[in-house]
């Protein structure tokens, strides 16, 4: 039982460590390169940021399927804003900053709409956000006329690939290796969310609402407000992530960006040990889940696994990660 508990608690971490060690051993040459390790954190930074917000939503007993489409919508809007601000003579950095804020606001508003219908319309989150999955994508397509929206501000991409130099580290070419802004933001968001969840009154309410809504109501917690808040926060984080994605691509393909983000984010949350029934969960687990998914993708490429087979490998790894950490009584 002791053993079982440790697996339940740290199963995902264990899976990550095992895969990591396998990689270290089999890919001597290239795996431990600092760039590769940096990439492991940064490649899914956007999904990671979203997954952190999704963790809060899931702990509160909800779910959000619309985040992928919302990413496309906010990203499209973000790029349009950068272009607009820059063309109005603003400094590129200022334009980017404002666009980031704009993206966050638009995302937060979209999340608010989701949350409002869920909390006050009393409709299942799954359905509302299924509507959002269709709706937000549609808005993105309308914004971009079905195609790509391109940034006219080169500084945006510099931001996308910029970061702070990792100290004492040089790349093959002798240059410094940057820890990307996106990765940094992902780490900060995760720390912040962990803090909010575990240390603040709001975090406590999120858990209470997810664990038992009636109890929360009887404890004078405003359940509706809490729900509204988690979806709004998730929306804001989606907005933030979307601009980071847009910055890296210097554009947003309105039909393609964010496809399946919802599934990736939910998979990361669940792999991390947060129960879809709500009421409990952990942010660090989600971070581990994101890293695990990234590592798998990294390995699939490194070992040149045939694309047709990749889905199977991915599916099995997800399942295995969850299987080893299931509690004895756990079930949906």
């Amino acid at each position: 039982m002791k053993r079982n508990n440790i697996l339940t608690e740290y199963g995902a971490l264990l899976a990550l460590v095992i895969l990591f060690v396998i990689n270290v051993i089999t890919r001597k040459g290239n795996f431990l390169q600092i760039e590769n390790l940096r990439n492991l954190v940064s490649q899914n930074a956007a999904v990671g940021i979203i997954a952190v917000g999704m963790t809060l939503v899931i702990i509160s007993g909800g779910i959000d399927l619309s985040v992928g489409s919302m990413t496309a919508m906010c990203g499209a809007a973000g790029i349009l804003l950068v272009n607009k601000f820059a063309s109005s003579g603003m400094s590129p950095n200022m334009a980017i900053l404002l666009a980031v804020l704009g993206g966050i606001l638009i995302g937060a508003f979209s999340g608010f709409v989701n949350g409002f219908i869920i909390a006050y319309g009393r409709v299942a989150a799954f359905v509302v956000t299924l509507g959002g999955l269709a709706g937000f994508r549609s808005i993105a397509l309308v914004l971009g006329n079905g195609g790509e929206i391109r940034s006219t501000v080169p500084a945006l991409q510099d931001f996308g690939f910029g970061g702070i130099p990792i100290p004492f580290v040089k790349n093959a070419g002798g240059g410094s290796v940057d820890f990307y802004w996106s990765a940094l933001i992902f780490v900060l968001v995760a720390i912040g969310a962990g803090f909010v969840l575990n240390r603040t009154r709001f975090g406590r309410y999120v858990i209470a609402v997810g664990a038992n809504q009636r109890v929360a109501e009887y404890s004078a917690i405003n359940v509706q407000t809490v729900k509204l808040a988690v979806y709004t926060i998730l929306g804001g984080l989606v907005g933030l992530a979307s601009v980071l994605v847009g910055a890296r691509m210097n554009s947003v393909g309105t039909g393609s960006v964010g496809l399946y983000y919802e599934l990736d984010a939910i998979a990361a949350v669940v792999i991390g040990g947060t129960s879809l029934r709500g009421g409990k969960g952990r942010i660090w687990g989600t971070v581990v889940g994101v890293l695990l998914l990234t590592l798998i993708a990294n390995m699939l490429t490194a070992f040149s696994i045939d694309t047709n087979w990749q889905g199977l490998v991915r599916g099995i790894v997800i399942l295995a990660a969850v299987l080893i950490q299931r509690g004895r009584k756990d079930n949906d």
């Binding site: 040459g29 990439n39 971009g144 006329n145 391109r150 691509m249 039909g255 393609s256 496809l259 490194a302």
Partner: protein
Amino acid sequence: QGGGGGGTASGGGSSSVAAGGKRFKIGVSIPAADHGWTAGVKYWAEEAKKANPDVDWVIQDAKEPGEQISGLENLQTQGVDALVILATESAPLTPIAEKLHAAGILIVNVDRGFTKPAADVFIEGDNKAFGRKSAEFIVQKLGGKGKVAVLEGIPCTVNTDRVNAAKEVFKANPGIQIVAEDSGMWNREKAEKVMTNMLVANPQIDAVWASDDDMALGVESALKAAGRDKNTWILGGGGMKEVVKRVMDGDKMYPGNITYPPSMIAYGMQTAASMLKVGKDTAKKYTPGHVMIDVSLITPENAKNFYFPDSIY
């Protein structure tokens, strides 16, 4: 709005002559815009629609073959005179096309060919040639020796045709070594991630064969981020305007490209409209049943012929 008149006098629907005031209705069925090229298709379809205001156009898209079949059935019940179909997949759409063709609807098939003669006109983009020509270019540019990474697209016939044709060429040249292969899903972001991982695993990659320009741009980002943009170049495909511009400007990273114009949908629509106007049967006498759109290699020398700054793609 159709003017008054006609009515009972004109005979059955499908073999209609361009009688006075009769407006034709043409359905256009295309895959949903899930990457740049398909977005380009949508764009050109809208362009052709604008250019032909005398026809009632119904443009619809579909995420998968089943949805496309349903859409085509709906177009049929609305009494379209012609259908322009860019199939999500070739074989799955063949039976419905046959059925609609048998019902007397003029069928123009664009890009992905039906597996049976179900179309009156087939306007084809040659995906095998796409794969072959682009691979040959790489082989030639590398002097028959070098390390190549292969980026596939979304699994489907188009992708399979391109990739297999390209790999055949590479295989025929033993000096060429495919060091990495994965799918970038015709998606810039995905391609960037996959390329980043490839770069880590392979200290030397001379050229990247990316079966689509969306992916080419993602590859470029990855190369730049890894500081390896000096020694590796990319051959994408599709003739996206950004990439064509880079070829035109003599960018070392983009020594060439392969056309695969999404505007072929507009050509198909134009063909359908003009065929209906002169009368289907008359038009068929001199309209070729099979039009192969050349897949040409774009080089810095000829790039300006393929550069359309106003296009969305």
